[in-house]
């Protein structure tokens, strides 16, 4: 992908270090952004809280059932060894095991390939090679989670509780925990050990709305007095030679979202640049006309394979 990195359509996101290209099975390269370590940590924290909540909920339901039995059959009935206490205990152990292991599996095998925590921060699991995300891959990446997360937690808490851990083993254990936990920080794709084994990665979701056409038929404006089409602004080649694609797209975002004040500022700076006298009250029309003329020129160049990145590049 190294040569593709110079292609002009590569997306420039907030953190270009995390931008990647994934080739779809049709051979079309797609822009993806790897999820940041912060988003991953946030999603994981949410998931752990949710799992704990689920376990707590199941425990409460179990206690409630016990309490119901006790009040129905009188005290002591549930404390007999073959009584409902056993059933509830079996169900509880199975439920905890399932929450701990199957929660991630179930959600990552779903349509959105993301747990509730991942959905909340807007990230998802995907196959690194651009193929299908298989059930095996999801199983593999989640089995490894055990040594990365749950094992250290159990290790630390059991060692603390029994108090039989020497200083050295405690530190060795802590380093071991840290090595797996911080693994994503030491590689550029933010892969954890499970991702490495499963051939997956975690990427950001993208959801954008389609905005309208930037300058709908701005070159011609209809004069309300006589209904004739007139071109209000005419730009010479020299007027359009001062800017490139980067400036065009900045102008686009100003036209899409800018306030009147921003329009005014941009108008005066463009007029300065091309030596026009800035008019007052017609900024939007002026900018739309300039945008359309500049874009027409740059797109004409594109059709002949010539692109101008920004105002510092050579004119086409």
């Amino acid at each position: 992908m190294s040569n593709a990195a110079t292609e002009p359509w590569i997306r420039r996101s907030a953190n270009p270090k995390l931008d990647r290209v994934m080739v779809s099975p049709e051979g079309v390269p797609l822009n993806v952004t790897v999820a940041t370590a912060g988003a991953r940590a946030g999603a994981l924290t949410l998931d752990i809280i949710i799992i704990m909540g689920l376990i707590l909920g199941v425990s409460l339901i179990g206690l409630l059932i016990l309490w119901a039995f006790e009040s129905a059959f009188g005290g002591g009935a549930s404390l007999e060894q073959s009584g409902p206490l056993n059933v509830v205990a079996v169900l509880w152990i199975i439920a905890v095991f399932l929450f701990r292991n199957a929660y991630f599996l179930y959600f990552e095998l779903g349509e959105r390939a993301a747990t509730w925590g991942k959905r909340a921060v807007g990230i998802r699991v995907a196959a690194r090679d651009g193929g299908r995300l298989t059930a095996e891959a999801v199983i593999a990446r989640n089995i490894i989670r055990d040594i990365e997360l749950f094992l250290p937690l159990v290790f630390l808490s059991s060692g603390e509780a029994s108090g039989n851990m020497t200083e050295f083993t405690a530190w060795a254990g802590f380093l071991w925990v840290l090595m797996f936990l911080l693994f994503p920080l030491f590689n550029k794709d933010r892969l954890r050990c499970g991702d490495l084994i499963a051939g997956t990665w975690v990427i950001q979701n993208v959801k954008r709305n389609l905005d309208g056409v930037v300058a709908p038929s701005s070159e011609v404006s209809i004069d309300p007095a006589n209904g004739k089409e007139t071109s209000r602004y005419e730009f010479s080649d020299a007027d359009l030679a001062v800017y490139g694609e980067y400036e065009l797209q900045t102008l686009e975002s100003v036209l899409r979202t800018g306030t009147d004040e921003a329009l005014l500022t941009v108008t005066s700076s463009i007029c300065n640049k091309i030596g026009w006298e800035p008019g007052v009250g017609d900024e939007r029309n002026f900018l739309e006309a300039y945008y359309t003329a500049l874009r027409a020129k740059l797109e004409r160049g594109m059709r002949f394979g010539k692109r101008r990145k920004d105002k510092f590049s050579a004119d086409i």
């Binding site: 822009n31 060894q81 079996v90 199975i94 095991f97 390939a113 690194r128 299908r132 055990d146 954008r208």
Partner: protein
Amino acid sequence: MASVATDLAAQQAIETAALKSDRFRLEREADWIRLDEIVTKMEKGKTRRLSDDDVLALPTLYRTLLSSLSIARESSLDAGMIDYLEGLALRSYFMVYGTQTSFGRWFKGFFGGGWSQAVRDIKLDIWIALFVMIAGTLIGYALVAGDSDWYYALVPGNFADVRVPGASEAALRGTLFGTENQDGLGVFAAYLFSNNAQVAILAFALGFAFAIPSILLLIHNMALLGAMLWVFAQRGLTVEFVGWLSIHGTTELFAILLAGAAGIHVGRSIAFPGTKSHLTAASDAGKRAALVMAGVVIMLICAGLLEGFARQLINDTGLRYLVGGAMLTFWLTYFFLFGRRKADAMNSGMTS
């Protein structure tokens, strides 16, 4: 009539659009928006509510969108539109190439040959793990035979209540044929399963570090077994002990063997990837091993049930051997004979 009017308006917008790239966009916009709606519905988990037309149109719309995106990247400077197309292309790509196996279908394929195929694929690692486990047992036995203090180092406190070196034959026999606490068997079975499953998952997961921790874990666990075997052998209870162990042990030890083998398989592929890159080798091996591991969890459920119920309820050594042997035969047949013909037929079909 209304649609005709909007069609006309759209037609007019296309004609009056000054830029070729805007005309390109206005001509295709309707398809993009339709695809967007389908994908949004699917993302919300409402796939079943899509009309047949939409389901049929999805692949076509997706490919059209990809070609629109390729053209737009080379001919349009409308950054807002290109961003939208990039995002939509990725979202619909995930829908078209999403996890399409339903859980039921995957389950069927898994039991109908996928699992045993995966086990056969890691045969070499199973031999390595078997060797390591036998060696571990012998080491444990030999260590304790040499110096019985080793027993306390190898066996954690909660196992070693009465089963200690020098315990009387009656006490040891009591642990093998105990009839106490039969009532709590269900809880015991569930606990054993949960516990064993975590050990097995650990044995697999540790394989990631070049398989060495997996091997150490196998040796340690089997040394524990070897040490216990020595304690019982001292009082002439070897046959009874093995019977007590085999009723669930053939399943449980087999499961741990597979888990360890899966770990070794992953570690070995990372250390010696052959002609593939390290990352590809790791992910290929990881997916194969994950199938084995899903099966290991199922085997451990069986083992937990056998250990919790059958072992406490069957108090006859002969019967115990029978149950253990039957389980072992079942697993061996399932893994190494079942589904083989189908797989062979498929392979020869592919090569011819």
